[in-house]
Structure formats: C-alpha cells, structure tokens
Symmetry: C2
Subunit: 135 residues, 2 copies
C-alpha cells in the first residue's frame, strides 16, 4: 500500500482504525460536519477552524495529516497539498458533547491562506476588557 504522503508518516506495525470508536462517537451537525479547532503544539496558538465530515475525521485520525471538508469547494482538502503548509497531527480530542474537535498539530509555515501565521492575526476587535473583582 503506497500513497502520496506516506513517507511523512510514522509507521505503525498494524494500521489502527478508529471505526467503532471516535467516528461513531462524534456528533455531526445537520450538514454532516463538525468544527475542528487547529492548535499549534507547544505554543498553544489557535491557528484556524475548519470543518470535517466523518471521512475527513477518519483521514485526520489515521493519516497523520489534517484533512478538512471544504464547504466552499465541496471537496476534501488535505491541508498543505497545494500550499505546502502541512499540518502534522500530534493529538486530537472531542469535547464534552463530542460535537467539536481539537487537533494539536505541527504547522508548517502559515496556517492562513492570506499568508499570516494564524487565521486570527488580521482582524483583532476592540473589546471592553473584563477584570475579576478584588477579593
């Protein structure tokens, strides 16, 4: 079995399948998608949020690289295939409702298609800051 990108993956003796576990536990919305938060390992930077269907989740958990479902293009989108800005999967977790995924990654280069490191670098909002009351 040889597929593009396989050389970049850690080899396991037997390929693990998440069937019957995470894939069945994950709760997808009416469009069959769940939001996936992508976070840089180590620094904790929130890089972006993308969407995954069951198959994109399966690929992400088993291929070592993050795959999204592109809502605009209506196709699978393995991050970095065209840009080179690969996201190598390090860890993943479902939230308490199993309807949101957090993926910890090693991000190569810019996560954002605009060229910035994260998708949240370009539009900081003015806020009224809250502070905890003095005890």
């Amino acid at each position: 079995m040889s597929e593009p990108g396989d050389e970049e993956l850690e080899r396991d003796e037997d390929v693990w399948s998440p069937e019957g576990s995470a894939l069945d536990r994950a709760v997808f919305n009416a469009d069959g998608l769940l939001p996936a938060i992508i976070q840089q390992e180590g620094t904790g930077e929130v890089l972006m949020l993308g969407w995954m269907d069951r198959e994109a989740l399966r690929r992400t958990l088993t291929e070592g690289r993050v795959t999204f479902w592109s809502r605009s293009r209506q196709e699978y989108w393995r991050k970095g295939d065209t840009s080179g800005h690969v996201q190598y999967v390090r860890a993943a977790a479902l939230d308490c409702d199993a309807d949101t995924l957090l993926v910890t990654v090693e991000q190569v280069g810019a996560a954002c298609h605009t060229g910035t490191r994260t998708c949240f670098d370009g539009d900081p909002l003015e806020v009224r800051k809250g502070i905890a009351p003095v005890e």
Copy 2:
C-alpha cells in the same frame, strides 16, 4: 446606568459601541450563529467552543464577559452566571473569513460543565501521529 456585574468591569470614560464595525463584519451561518473559540490568556489552553448570535457577540465585546447563545436551551447564556465559572474577556479576533471568533479570556475555575478545566480534557482520541520529513 447600573447593571448586575458592572462592578466587575473596567470602566471606560465613554462606552464604546461596536455597531457598524465588528458586528456588521461578522458572518453568521444560516441559523444566525458563529462559532466562538474560547482560549485562556497566557497558557493558551483551548477551553471550549460556544456559539454566538449577533447580540451575544455584541454583549461579549462590550460587557467584559463572554455571552453565548445556547442552542439547546434557546436562550442567552452568560458564562458563569449560574456556575460562577466566569470568563472575563481580554481580547477577541475574527478570522480571515469573519465567520469564526477567537476570544481570549481569564477563566475562573472550570470551563466545562463536567467540572474539568477544559471541554477537551475528557475524550482524547487515538491518532496516528504525523512527522515532518527529514530535510
């Protein structure tokens, strides 16, 4: 003007309104909502993901505390009002498509209703880790 919780907020000389700016730029989905990622200031922990409509976003940007729209209860939900686990807003940013919000907060206690610090503590998934090829 005195409202519950005001004592916990930084005072500005003039109250800033985000009307015509962030609220009009934000892109909401067909249900009128956008996902809001909540991150702890400093540590970078991703605490949870909630949903906001335009009014919840307005409150979050102007009140110093995070307010969500509860999809299950169909009502506004100012985090911490019942649990005490308040989220004080420190910063916020829209992503490159303006359809996702990142809010940096000071989280009091547990972010998750299950009692864990974050909503992603309870269900780590088995993954095949990806590693970058050696140059």
